[in-house]
């Protein structure tokens, strides 16, 4: 007799209860606290803030633990919360030139005003597993030199003095920056909109696309003009006040790629820019973003669009991991109504095919007999 497998409310509730149990794991192991995650898994928290587009370490840490460490799930949790928040206004553009820099490296100049500052980087560590970490030993306090009095101008500004690099930002004066979280995406996009989409785009996806440009699919000859990580001030213009009101500081990673450009019908030979900016500390993401940004400027600069990384609709439509994971994973939802319709069609076409084959075979036999 007919017993359909149907998911009732009880089944869902039980599944969630089991999930909560598995999330907590062995009860004899102390439960994670949010501050532990925010402090000790800081780069994971940064990624969640960056791709979740919400600068809040505590909520990001909560999302990480709630998602059992699944980054895309955590990003999703943060996005679904952020989207419900009312919008009070837009901050003034941040000045990364005035950043409280913790790390700043340039690959184009050996030395430059403000110097090279390595900061907390994995770059020269030997990737040897460290058993002492497992033992939970004490960690030495860092040595830090006092902040430089010297200003730390952005490398792109240094290059700009010589006129060898295109001007920064060519938006018309009356251009109001868009907001991809409030307005529908429409192609083709202005660069500000595209950069917003890239900044919350999936790290892995942008990394692979950026990598593809290096391997010859829309090669754009990049140099890291500069990467800087540190805190920038946020300010808000309040109509009633004659000055901008400081809101606090956020930590960001900025990457300025400098790309060689031989010139085209539209632009003279010069260096061009690719730009990356993300919340928190993530050089990989900022660099990948800068490579993609430059690749996506192909038509603006009069280059042929020949590779995936240059194709705005392709890149931007598929860079959002919350969208991507949703649509891929939705395939596990029931589709039996549609499947039934297809099943019927295939059966019908199959029957016709077999009838035809049988007829052919009979005919062949007849011919052989004759």
């Amino acid at each position: 007799m007919y017993v359909a497998v149907k998911g009732g409310e009880a089944a869902i509730a039980n599944a969630h209860r089991l999930l909560a149990d598995r999330r907590r794991g062995d009860r004899s192991v102390p439960a994670l606290r949010l501050d532990q995650i925010a402090e000790q898994l800081a780069l994971g928290v940064d990624r969640v803030m960056s791709e979740g587009s919400l600068y809040d370490r505590e909520l990001a840490a909560l999302a990480v633990v709630q998602a059992r460490g699944d980054m895309i799930e955590a990003i999703f949790l943060v996005r679904a919360y952020r989207t419900t928040l009312p919008r009070f206004g837009y901050t003034c553009p941040v000045d990364t030139g005035a950043m409280q820099v913790e790390r700043r490296v340039s690959a184009t100049y050996k030395d430059l005003p403000g110097g090279q500052v390595l900061g907390p980087t994995f770059d020269y560590t030997h990737r040897l597993l460290d058993p002492e970490l497992a033992a939970g030993g004490d960690v030495e306090a860092p040595t830090e030199r006092p902040a430089e009095a010297e200003a730390m101008p952005r490398v792109s500004s240094i290059l700009a003095h010589e006129g060898l690099i295109e001007a920064d930002g060519d938006m018309p004066l009356d251009h109001v920056p868009g907001d991809i979280t409030r307005e529908p995406l429409q192609f083709p996009m202005a660069r500000d909109i595209r950069l917003q989409a890239l900044s919350r785009g999936d790290e892995g996806f942008l990394l692979a696309l950026g990598y593809s440009t290096q391997r010859g699919y829309a090669r754009n000859h990049p140099f890291v003009g500069e990467i800087r990580i540190g805190e920038v001030e946020l300010e808000l213009d309040v109509p009633e006040l004659p000055f901008a009101v400081p809101l606090g500081a956020i930590r960001v990673t900025e990457c300025q790629m400098v790309n060689q450009f031989k010139g085209s019908a539209k632009a003279p030979p010069q260096f061009t820019r690719g730009y990356g900016l993300v919340f928190g500390q993530s050089e990989r993401k900022a660099m990948a973003m800068a490579l993609c940004d430059r690749a996506l400027r192909a038509s603006e600069l009069g280059e042929d669009v020949v590779a995936a990384a240059q194709d705005e609709e392709f890149v931007i439509s598929h860079s959002d991991n919350v969208q991507a994971t949703g649509f891929v994973e939705h395939l596990k939802l029931p589709h039996y109504v549609d499947f039934q319709a297809e099943l019927d069609l295939v059966r019908r076409m199959r029957a016709e095919y077999e009838a035809r084959e049988n007829e052919n075979r009979a005919e062949d036999k007849r011919e052989a007999a004759e």
Binding site: M1, Y2, A4, K6, G7, G8, E9, A11, I12, E58, L59, L62, F76, R79, A80, Y81, R82, T83, T84, L85, P86, R87, I180, T181, R182, E183, P184, L185, Q186, F187, P188, E313, S317, V322, Q323, T325, G326, F327, V328, E329, H330, L331, L333, P334, H335, Y336, V337, D338, Q340, A341, E342, L343, D344, L345, R347, R348, M349, A351, E352
Partner: protein, 323 residues
Amino acid sequence: MSAQSTDIATYNFAYLDEQTKRMIRRAILKGIAIPGYQVPFASREMPMPYGWGTGGVQVTASIIGPDDVLKVIDQGADDTTNAVSIRAFFKKVAKVEVTTDTARATIIQTRHRIPEHSLTAGQVLVFQVPIPEPLRFLEPRETETRKMHALEEYGLMHVKLYEDIAKHGRIATTYAYPVKVEGRYVMDPSPTPKFDNPKMHRSPALQLFGAGREKRIYAVPPFTDVVSLDFEDHPFEVQTFDQPCALCGAENVYLDEVILDDHGGHMFVCSDTDHCEKRRGDPTTPLWGGRAEGAGDLATTPATPTPALRADPPHKGEGKEAE
């Protein structure tokens, strides 16, 4: 999605903030004003994944009020997991009354089906849409497809349907079958089986379509022409079943095939669970008892099934039946 009680995160009535609801309502109104036209809207992340009906949920969240009665179905059924989950969501964030009764609902959110019970004026049917663009699989670029709609250039779609006929002898589209709305826009009816297409034509209910991931809303106002694309010599036809529902005996309804065992035993039952249960609960319905048992007999047959077991395809009337 925890919340209300703690102060770390709280949510508005029906989850979305009021600014967002206004934005979505504007998109809906525009959609109603231009039937079948896909209105871009700034879709929000929802607390369920893209692909789970975020477009439909946003539409429902924007139009629902405290006095509404909500029904949610997936594959025609009220008790499939996702329908249960979306219903529970609105019970939680909007505290509205929910029902499985098609006639009693003021808003029906659906995935992949239109209820068998005919809808009435005042009801709103909200569809969850994965890919709103009917031309998408013919032309992947949004910039191009928008142009094609603007110029009413639908030749490509007709060529596709014609190629189907040339290759397969029939139009090989069984669900998400394209329709023309009010003689102007070609529209994707969402992945409902084409069986449901005629129900959209001049329906007294308002039909709203939400595609969250693709950020589009479109609408079919009440009593609007919705015509499935076809050719004079290959007229549009819906699937018909040559056996009734094995549980309630209903005919001319869409049926699901249920596999009973691993010997090819199967039976066909109503996809619309509310419709089926109503009929079974109604003493005046002539009950059909034979099929379920028949299938049971099949199940107990020890012989290995032959490929010819399904000699009678349950559907008929697919496109080119004459041959």
